[in-house]
């Protein structure tokens, strides 16, 4: 039991609902208590889609799952699959029921497929559950298919509420089309019917490994489909993906190279930015990056190798991917770590005192408090529900170049690293009082107290100054 100021990811049920609501023809039934039905409000707020969320609540303690399913399917006769989800509280309640038999659709006469999540548990978190739910849907529906005559690939992107999900998948699809490769986007925007045809494709591209890992591994093991797992972030990452896909689709390497060059000349601005900015812009400047898996690694690599910043450390909130993350982060930084506590990240930021923070919305406060330029580029970032700016592909690299130009355009800030030598002293009593402040507020409290002491011309922080400075 601990005090937390924010959460990176939600419960497992939320992840399953995000995947389910991404796929046309899937109806999700959430077994939960009456106060837990909130998905539709978030769905409306973030997607602003005209369709109500395909999620129905089956209240624990209500008339019963079987009756609820009858009613839900009566009102959703075109549902092709029903995924049964249980909330954390429903799982903790110990409520048990056998898998229900779904009624036939009054319109089609067919019985929707029932998808259960037997691996669901209260300790499973959003991202991992989303990954498993997508695999479950693919496993239930995918059927052996003859390979398409012309090269096609499946793009496994983020699910609903993903970071610029539509835009990023569209950008990658555009690049593939330039190579003459057709693409199917999964899961957002796909349909149950298309799940059956996934094995027709020549390869799977995993844009967002957090949610595409299990499904693409299943397709690899079951249907022998190769996959590309490099995130198309930055010019180097995007080029690597295009070359890998070209090879898997047996394309002429010269054609791929010409396409990449043309895009580097026309679309990608990151290489230009790296060359146009004077070396002093980057020399000695340190960035830290924290967040998910894909963006934290892809952007970390890009900042270190393409831009030339020193990445002091990188980290992720996703503990289930720890081993993989630490291994890959080792290619561009000396230090990598995993935690799910935003306050630990804040403490590390304060210690590192970097010139740039790339993170999630949870790192905004510490960046603001320390006056460090902050780029909230790691998902979830949902301030722009209509159009998310893509970070993937060559267009995305230009967005990144603009963001970096804005963040690093000013002269380097005075570092507290040097400033620490001039740090104010603290009386024993003030230090004792500081110990009473919760850990997650301590850094902020210390800063405010020192500012107050400086303003008052005091060489030391006293308990009185500390008390006066608290907001």
């Amino acid at each position: 039991m601990r005090v937390l100021r924010g959460l990176y990811e939600g419960p497992g049920s939320h992840g399953i609902l995000r995947v389910a609501a991404s796929v046309e023809g899937v109806q999700a039934v959430l077994r939960a208590y009456p106060e837990e039905g909130y998905f539709s409000a978030i769905h409306g707020a973030l997607t602003r889609s005209g369709d109500p969320a395909p999620v129905s609540l089956s209240p624990v303690g209500g008339p019963g799952l079987a009756r609820d399913l009858q009613e839900i399917l009566r009102r959703s006769p075109d549902a092709e699959a029903v995924i049964l989800v249980r909330s954390e509280a429903a799982l903790l309640s110990g409520e048990e029921f056998s898998d229900p038999v779904l009624p036939e659709s009054s319109e089609t006469g067919r019985r929707p497929k029932l998808v259960t999540c037997p691996w669901e548990s209260p300790s499973l978190r959003e991202i991992e559950a989303a990954d498993l739910a997508l695999e479950e849907l693919v496993r239930v529906h995918a059927r052996p298919q003859a390979r398409s005559l012309t090269p096609t690939v499946n793009i496994f992107g983020p699910p609903l509420f993903g970071p610029g999900a539509e835009e990023e998948a569209r950008e990658v699809e555009r690049l593939l089309n330039l190579l003459g490769i057709g693409a199917t986007r999964v899961p957002l925007g796909t349909s149950v019917g298309e799940f059956a045809r996934l094995p027709r494709a020549w390869a799977n591209i995993v844009l967002y490994r957090e949610v595409g890992e299990a499904a693409t591994r299943f397709l690899q093991n079951e249907f022998g489909m190769p996959r590309v797992t490099t995130p198309p972030l930055g010019s180097a990452g995007t080029g690597a993906v295009m070359r890998a896909v070209g090879e898997l689709c047996s394309l002429d390497a010269g054609r791929v190279r010409r396409t990449v060059w043309a895009e580097l000349a026309r679309t990608a601005k990151l290489p230009w930015y790296a060359r146009l900015a004077v070396p002093e812009t980057f020399a000695g400047r340190r960035a830290v990056i924290f967040g998910d898996f894909t963006y934290a690694l892809g952007l970390g690599y890009t900042l270190a190798r393409e831009v030339g910043l020193e990445v002091a450390w990188a980290g992720t909130y996703l503990s289930q991917l720890e081993k993989d993350f630490l291994f890959q982060a080792g290619t561009f930084t000396e230090e990598a770590f995993v935690t799910d506590d935003p306050d630990e990240v804040a403490a590390r930021v304060e210690e590192a005192d970097p010139d740039l923070i790339v993170g999630t919305h949870l790192e905004g406060d510490v960046a603001d408090a320390l006056g460090i330029p902050f780029l909230p580029l790691c998902p979830p970032v949902a301030q722009n529900p209509f159009v998310g700016k893509p970070l993937m592909g060559y267009s995305g690299s230009s967005v990144l170049a603009d963001a970096l130009d804005g963040a690093l355009g000013n002269p380097p800030r005075e570092h507290r690293r040097g400033g620490k030598a001039r740090a104010l002293g603290w009386t024993e009593e003030a230090l004792e009082a500081l110990e009473d402040v919760p850990a997650f507020l301590r850094g902020r409290t210390r800063r405010l107290a020192e500012e107050r002491a400086r303003a008052a011309g005091s060489p030391t922080v006293t308990p009185e100054i500390l008390e006066d400075s608290r907001p």
């Binding site: 924010g6 909130y38 539709s40 769905h43 707020a45 129905s56 009613e71």
Partner: protein, 462 residues
């Protein structure tokens, strides 16, 4: 008026939404949400503006939600008694001017074995007498109202109000403060405890019984208090309390609620808070809620009568109606559908019907028939009340009826707008403070503005 129980699943935004707004209204409350990842995620996810709600000011420069702290329980832990208390102590020690700590013990916390009332008692002792109370969502009810936690919070505040001169000042005697680390408010509370009766204790100057306003927002409370004083009534305070300068008051500013107090309830969802006041011996006035012109007039008349006075609001109400005739003309004849998620919809429907609108349906997740008895009997004979409406069925009925405007819950707002329906969110109506005569004008102005904007947009040649 007919009441139909559809036994469906209504679209109701979780009561955990808007916790920081609640904390802000209370002034000196620290809200500690204890739950699993799902509960904390829900609280944080719903803290942003929801569809149809007015833009909220950006949160203050503070992490998380201002005034709200989160204690995360892992699903595989079996917390020992007292652990939550330690976390509450940690949070309260880092906060200033706390007058009361409210533990929102989510269902999952209780399922994991947390006894919130035990933890509250323990925390209160550790915090040297600072009031700590557990609040939660009713486990028995089949449906929740979106304002459920507000009801629970005010129930607690009623319990913390002084009982009056003759009784003990607090329902549960607070131990002497062991330390002074919890902030200035707590010190003030200690000083206040020494007074007889606390703020608003009525003395012999007033012969009539004093009135306490329960619920509402500071603006409408001020307006209604002024109306009641005009009628010769002494309004000694409100729950939640108000301080000078329109700022939220804290526990020290709570008025006496007990024998001899008349409690005037401003909101239709304050069932438990009103019951608590009755349990303390206060008289809760059963009347219309002060929503709409006639509702406000009847409210003032009945509250005055309960204090032993007499007044007539007929002339004043007529003047108000005349003053808002231009707005009333915009709603007259309009067909309105209220999907219902807060409980506010029933008095709102009554007002709109009085103003000349045709109310097609008013939904409510749960109907407290006894508490809302006066309201229900005042609804027009043509109005259908649907208890526990199924949201899909409501969508179908809205599609079939094509109302002129829908007062929609947040989950239905976007799908209805996408289907071409003119919508206002229930959150927008709550946010504009619909109570009192001025509130009636604001409600009609909101609808008039809605129609005007729709006409302007429809006139565009896209």
């Amino acid at each position: 008026m007919t009441i139909l129980n559809e036994s469906g699943v209504p679209d109701v935004v979780s009561p955990l939404h808007g916790l920081s707004g609640l904390a802000e209204d209370l002034g000196d409350a620290l809200i500690v949400v204890a739950g699993t990842r799902a509960d904390l995620h829900l609280s944080l996810s719903l803290s942003g503006p929801l569809p149809g709600s007015p833009a909220a000011p950006a949160p203050a420069d503070a992490p998380g939600l201002p005034g709200v702290s989160f204690v995360l329980l892992e699903p595989d832990e079996r917390p020992e008694g007292g652990i939550l208390t330690s976390r509450i102590f940690e949070v309260a020690s880092g906060s200033r001017d706390v007058g009361v700590v409210l533990i929102v013990a989510c269902r999952s916390a209780r399922l994991l074995g947390v006894d919130p009332h035990f933890e509250a008692e323990l925390a209160e002792r550790r915090l040297g007498g600072l009031p700590v109370r557990a609040i939660g969502i009713s486990e028995e009810a089949s449906a929740v109202l979106s304002k459920e936690l507000v009801d629970e919070t005010l129930r607690v505040l009623v319990g913390l109000s002084p009982r009056g001169v003759s009784g003990p000042e607090h329902e549960e005697p607070l131990p002497a403060k062991a330390g002074a680390k919890v902030g200035a408010r707590a010190g003030f509370l200690g000083r206040l405890r020494g007074r007889s009766g606390g703020h608003g204790a009525h003395d012999d100057v007033f012969e009539r019984r004093p009135v306490v306003l329960l619920g509402g927002a500071s603006g409408s409370r001020e307006e209604l208090a002024s109306d009641l004083r005009r009628a010769g009534v002494e309004v000694v305070g409100s729950v939640p309390a108000d301080a000078r300068g329109g700022l939220p008051g804290g526990v020290p500013e709570l008025p006496v609620v007990g024998e001899g107090t008349v409690v005037a309830v401003l909101d239709p969802y304050l069932v438990r808070a009103a019951r608590k006041a009755e349990e303390r011996g206060a008289q809760v006035v059963r009347t219309l809620f002060p929503i709409g012109v006639d509702g406000t007039a009847r409210f003032i008349g009945d509250v005055v009568a309960a204090t032993g006075g007499i007044t007539s609001e007929v002339v004043h109400a007529r003047q108000v109606w005349e003053g808002i005739e231009h707005l009333r003309s915009r709603i007259r004849g309009k067909r309105v559908f209220l999907t219902g998620d807060s409980g506010l919809e029933i008095p709102l429907a009554r007002f709109l019907a009085n103003a000349g609108a045709v109310v097609l349906e008013v939904g409510t997740p749960r109907l407290e028939k006894r508490f809302l008895g006066v309201e229900l009997s005042a609804l027009g004979s043509d109005v259908d009340v649907v208890e526990a409406p199924d949201w899909r069925a409501q969508l179908e009925r809205i599609e079939a009826a094509r109302p002129d405007v829908v007062v929609a819950s947040p989950g239905l707002f976007v799908p209805l707008v996408a289907r071409g329906h003119l919508c206002r969110s229930s959150l927008a109506l709550l946010a504009l403070d619909p109570r009192g005569y001025e509130g009636a004008r604001r409600v009609l102005a909101l609808f008039a503005q809605t129609f005007e904007r729709a006409e302007a947009l429809d006139a565009l040649n896209l």
